[in-house]
């Protein structure tokens, strides 16, 4: 089937990134859960506490990284799942760009939130 030989070769890269981010997320997600539910109880959360953590540049960058990997991993996972359901053509392009837009929004909003704590600019 000739149509099999399409130009789609990025598959391997995305696949690999899905795994790499997963490996990273295992650690960070576990840390995140542990910190925010077991060390500090969820109902004890206050703005000030979050602020104090976020002002450490290590924690800040870890969380930003966390945000980016999780977003990539999650959105790419959803995208792959949809492709596996046989999503093709224009529909696929639409979904793809919608997902990218949603991710961008999420990342933007996430960074703003983190910045709010860290005392960095929140843009508007």
């Amino acid at each position: 089937m000739a149509e099999h030989y399409s130009s789609f070769t990025k598959g391997g890269r995305l696949w690999l990134w899905q795994r790499l981010t997963a490996a990273f997320l295992v650690v960070v997600l576990a840390f995140h859960f542990f910190l925010l539910h077991f060390v500090y109880h969820a109902d004890e959360v206050t703005f000030a506490l979050s602020q104090s953590r976020m002002e450490m540049w290590t924690y800040y960058s870890l969380m930003i990284l966390f945000l980016f990997t999780a977003t990539f991993h999650g959105v790419n996972g959803v995208y792959n799942a949809l492709i596996n359901q046989g999503l093709t053509g224009t529909k696929r392009q639409i979904v793809k760009w919608t997902l990218i837009a949603a991710s961008a929004l999420l990342l933007f909003q996430g960074v703003r939130t983190a910045n709010a704590w860290a005392g960095l600019p929140t843009f508007f």
Partner: protein, 300 residues
């Protein structure tokens, strides 16, 4: 023709049963013949019922429920299950059972089979909810009644016969032939292959094209273009053969990492579970993924 009234499933599948009965082309003569045929069929159903009853009375039998469908025969246009009681003998396989039912009860029962020894790959059926080779499955290992259906995810041609064309196309789309960069000039000199390398490809060369794996894979069911475990295994068989050159291997990796190739596999393992030749399909697919990644890394 069953001893019980045929069970009409509630779900009336119309997708393929739309072939209308007695179309324009039917001549009176054909109609007459069809009528006679039906009469005869009834007679044979009766005989079968009697034989069945007798069989039940004086010997150990097994109950099989077989999927029936024939686009051309009026009473079979609606898919249904027929029940047969087959005398049990030690060592009886599912294939033996359906052959018995065909030869003694209903000659129109149709299925592919040939070698009876798990090598021709003709008789993969869906038996009690799993893809199995009829000739390699002992009746004694199954719960009764034994439900025998055609392979899922493939069009049914008739009864247990499914359309294999799609599967063959997938198999043939991975360049399933040995293609070395060069062969020894001397007609009597073989290419060397290490034992270890033969061992590596050994399992992958055992595929008998039965399509059990392909039928079991959810992804293949959802994506008609997915190459599927058998074709990927075929690609593995050549990509890993050291007698083929490095550049050919790269080409093969490109073939399998195309959009509907290895990345589609979600490691569900059902292919590996059902393969009658015990080929570790998932393992082969995963190895191909890693090979493909390695290959791509070089260009980063």
């Amino acid at each position: 023709m069953s001893t019980q009234p045929p069970q009409q499933e509630t779900d009336e599948s119309t997708a393929e049963t739309s072939a209308e009965p007695e179309t324009e082309s039917t001549s009176p003569g054909q109609q007459k013949r069809a009528a006679q045929k039906r009469e005869r069929a009834n007679a044979s159903a009766q005989r079968q019922a009697e034989a069945d009853a007798k069989a039940k009375a004086d010997e150990e039998t097994r109950e099989i429920k077989v999927f029936r469908y024939d686009p051309e025969v009026e009473e079979k246009q609606e898919p249904r299950f027929d029940t047969f009681h087959v005398p049990f003998t030690k060592g009886m396989t599912v294939l033996d059972a359906v052959m018995y039912a065909r030869d003694h009860y209903d000659p129109s029962l149709t299925f592919r089979h040939s070698c009876r020894q798990a090598i021709c790959g003709s008789d993969a059926f869906f038996v009690n909810g799993r893809q199995r080779l009829g000739c390699k499955t002992q009746v004694s290992e199954l719960d009764e009644p034994i439900r025998i259906e055609p392979l899922p995810h493939q069009d049914v041609v008739k009864d247990l016969v499914v359309d294999m064309d799609h599967f063959y196309e997938e198999m043939e789309s991975v360049d399933p032939y040995f293609d070395p960069d060069e062969t020894p000039g001397n007609d009597l000199e073989e290419q060397r292959q290490s034992r270890a390398n033969r061992e590596k490809v050994k399992m992958s060369t055992r595929c008998i094209w039965c399509a059990a794996c392909f039928s079991s894979c959810n992804i293949a069911a959802g994506d008609n273009q997915y190459l599927g475990p058998a074709a990927l295994n075929k690609a593995y068989r050549f990509a890993m053969d050291e007698r083929e050159g490095e550049s050919r291997k790269q080409e093969r990796l490109e073939t399998i990492e195309q959009e509907h190739g290895v990345w589609r596999c979600q490691t569900q393992f059902s292919c590996t579970n059902v393969c009658p030749k015990d080929i570790p399909l998932t393992e082969h697919i995963q190895e191909l993924k890693r090979e493909a990644v390695k290959k791509n890394l070089k260009f980063w």
